[in-house]
């Protein structure tokens, strides 16, 4: 099982259609793959296309050319509804900030993800995750926008982990956090990921963070677009 490919990208090219100024591709990745259970630190300068790559992997954007295969599924062969379902089930997403629906309670935010993923509702699992992420249980009934940024990010992590997705993608989830909270967050994310044999693709331009991860990749290495 260890050499199953989690992410397999072949001959991927992408350029924004609405950009009339330059016809050049943002991304041109001939070949890139990630093993199941690996934790990857992806970095690169601002505007280099990191978020764009995540959107392609998440099935939100469609590649101009090439293939993105996740866990043996060529996701861009799927219909858009199937893509949405695939994402809900197999990918946990955490991003920079504003990860939660502000007017819902913490519990409802987690349940929202659980319902889209089709997983069973299990309060004790939520409580377990809360415990391991140092969130008190009574926070569950608070409105999401009443939480601190660090707490919100940890709730987003619970939501991403809850249904044990094989892949977690995180787009600069720590940029709004202070150093201590940030390190704690990454530690927890990797620890939970490892326990669930979950691939973690972590994007940041904060290079020192790379030490926490199995592998560090500069987007420039794999991306041949200028």
């Amino acid at each position: 099982m260890t050499n199953t490919l989690s992410i397999n990208i072949e001959q991927l090219r992408f350029h924004w259609k609405n950009k009339n100024t330059s016809n050049s591709a943002v991304l041109d990745i001939p070949q890139w793959h990630v093993q199941q259970g690996e934790s990857i630190f992806l970095h690169g300068p601002s505007g280099s296309g990191k978020s764009t790559l995540l959107n392609l992997i998440g099935g939100i954007l469609s590649p101009t050319e090439g293939k993105v295969t996740l866990l043996d599924t060529d996701i861009h062969q799927l219909s858009s509804t199937q893509k949405d379902r695939f994402r809900a089930k197999n990918i946990g997403v955490i991003f920079q900030q504003f990860n939660l629906v502000p007017y819902l309670s913490v519990l409802d935010n987690i349940r929202l993800g659980q319902q889209f993923s089709g997983a069973k509702y299990d309060l004790s699992r939520i409580q377990d995750l809360c415990n391991s992420l140092n969130l008190t249980i009574d926070l569950l009934h608070q409105k999401a926008n009443q939480l601190s940024t660090g707490q919100q990010q940890r709730v987003a992590m619970i939501r991403a982990l809850y249904h044990r997705p094989p892949l977690i993608i995180a787009d600069e989830p720590t940029s709004a956090l202070d150093t201590d909270t940030r390190d704690e967050f990454i530690q927890l994310l990797l620890q939970e990921g490892q326990q669930n044999n979950c691939t973690v693709l972590f994007v940041s331009h904060d290079k020192p963070l790379a030490t926490h991860f199995d592998r560090s990749v500069a987007l420039g290495e794999i991306n041949h677009a200028v």
Binding site: S51, T52, L54, N55, G58, I60, L61, S80, T81, D84, R85, R87, A88, K89, V93, F95, Q96, Q97, F98, N99, L100, V101, P102, Y103, L104, D108, R111, L112, G113, Q115, F116, S117, R159, I169, D171
Partner: protein
């Protein structure tokens, strides 16, 4: 979950949501009230008179004749002579007549001089006859029979002495205080202008005006020309003229023939009208006004719906992050579409219900006012089949219009990356 999301989202923006609901409610209220009041007054008018084949009065407008003779609205420009009345009353096809002599009032309630036939032949609603709650019809010259509302509002009981005033204005300065009347009967409520009337005999009407000419007392106060109540009884109290009269026929087939005969009456300019025909003329006139009002109400509703849609569209900007979150956790774009639609549905539904309740409250307030002024008892409950139909129509329009922001949300979430662009 979708429902919870929509509901919590609206709660989150409750000020805007409440304002939106309120504006829809007002539109709805106007729309419904126009329809409801119109329908209820129509019914009220129609219910006031039953079994009467012809209304006869001096020649003027048919609607005017109907309004003053039956609904106590406005006043007659001319009287008709007692002789003409007697002639028509004797016509072989006439089964009954009810003479009406108007022009006086008591505390704003109109006084009707009539005959005992009023209590025998007058019909309202579904051919219902008048009933006495207390007492009996008048027999003496100075006897009066009160409508139910008059007795209730003024707190009068049997044997109460009342002084009639000249003219029909609320405040009158000339009173027939030398000839007080005694209440001998109180009618059961009917929900028609009868409730707002005071009935006396034609002789009584004649007696209080015996020392009057052309609407003013012949002599000043204290002058020898005044005739006292007792003295009046000794005089001939046969009326010289009356205002109008109602006619019931033996055979309805004869209605048009008699109407033509009365209209062609040579000795006096008379006019006979069919109440049903005049009512429909009245509705025709009101119909135009009603359509204009309904159109305005529709515009009000559309404006408030447009306001709601605009609000939805502009909040999409603020909701971009929320949509990004939903998208990231796997919500398909049509989920956003449904979310917006559901929010619009909830807002509109709340607006419609609030509008209906507002109208209901309004009708509870308006009911006694309308009854006091027009004698019509209108239903305060505005929920009816047609109004439900209107409500669902508005809901349909709202959902149709909501497609604009809903589709915008759909588009937005399609183009939305996993990162919320703040």
């Amino acid at each position: 979950m979708l429902y919870k999301l929509a509901w919590q989202s609206l709660l989150h923006r409750r000020t805007t949501a409440l304002l939106t609901i309120f504006s829809i409610a007002i539109g709805m209220m106007i729309m419904l009230s126009i329809h409801h009041i119109q329908q209820q007054t129509k019914q009220g008018f129609t219910n006031t008179l039953s079994e009467t084949d012809l209304i006869v009065g001096a020649r003027s407008g048919p609607i005017n004749l109907l309004l003053y003779s039956v609904f106590r609205i406005g006043s007659a420009s001319n009287n008709i002579s007692w002789d003409s009345y007697k002639t028509i009353k004797r016509h072989k096809n006439v089964r009954w007549t009810i003479p009406l002599s108007l022009g006086d009032s008591h505390q704003g309630y109109r006084v009707i001089g009539t005959s005992e036939d009023y209590f025998t032949y007058y019909r309202y609603g579904q051919k219902q006859a008048l009933a006495f709650a207390e007492g009996q019809p008048f027999s003496g010259v100075y006897d009066a029979v009160l409508g139910a509302e008059v007795a209730k509002k003024l707190g009068y009981t049997l044997d109460q002495k009342i002084v009639l005033s000249h003219g029909v204005a609320k405040v009158s300065f000339t009173h027939h205080d030398d000839k007080p009347f005694t209440v001998v009967g109180i009618l059961a409520p009917t929900g028609t202008p009868v409730d707002q009337s005071i009935h006396i005999s034609l002789a009584g009407m004649e007696a209080i005006h015996i020392d009057w000419q052309r609407g003013v007392p012949v002599a000043g106060i204290g002058s020898g020309l005044k005739i006292s109540a007792e003295e009046a009884l000794t005089k001939d109290l046969t009326p010289k003229n009356i205002t109008a009269f109602l006619v019931g026929l033996d055979n309805k087939m004869m209605t048009f023939r008699l109407q033509r005969a009365i209209n062609d009456y040579s000795k006096e300019a008379l006019m006979a009208v069919l109440p049903g025909v005049v009512l429909s003329e009245l509705w025709q006139i009101m119909g135009g006004v009603e359509k204009a009002l309904a159109f305005i109400a529709l515009l009000v509703i559309v404006a408030s719906l447009l306001g709601m849609v605009t609000m939805m569209l502009s909040t999409l900007q603020q909701r971009q992050r929320e949509l990004a979150v939903l998208r990231a956790i796997g919500a398909p774009p049509w989920f956003m579409f449904c979310l917006i639609q559901l929010e619009v549905l909830l807002l509109t539904l709340a607006g419609l219900i609030a509008g209906t309740l507002l109208l209901w409250l309004g009708m509870l307030v308006a009911q006694p006012i309308i009854q006091d002024n027009y004698g019509l008892l209108i239903e305060s409950n505005p929920i009816s089949y047609t109004n439900l139909l209107y409500g669902s129509g508005i809901l349909g329009i709202a959902l149709l219009m909501a497609c604009i922001p809903a589709f915008a949300a759909y588009r937005q979430s399609l183009g939305q990356g996993l990162t919320a662009r703040a």
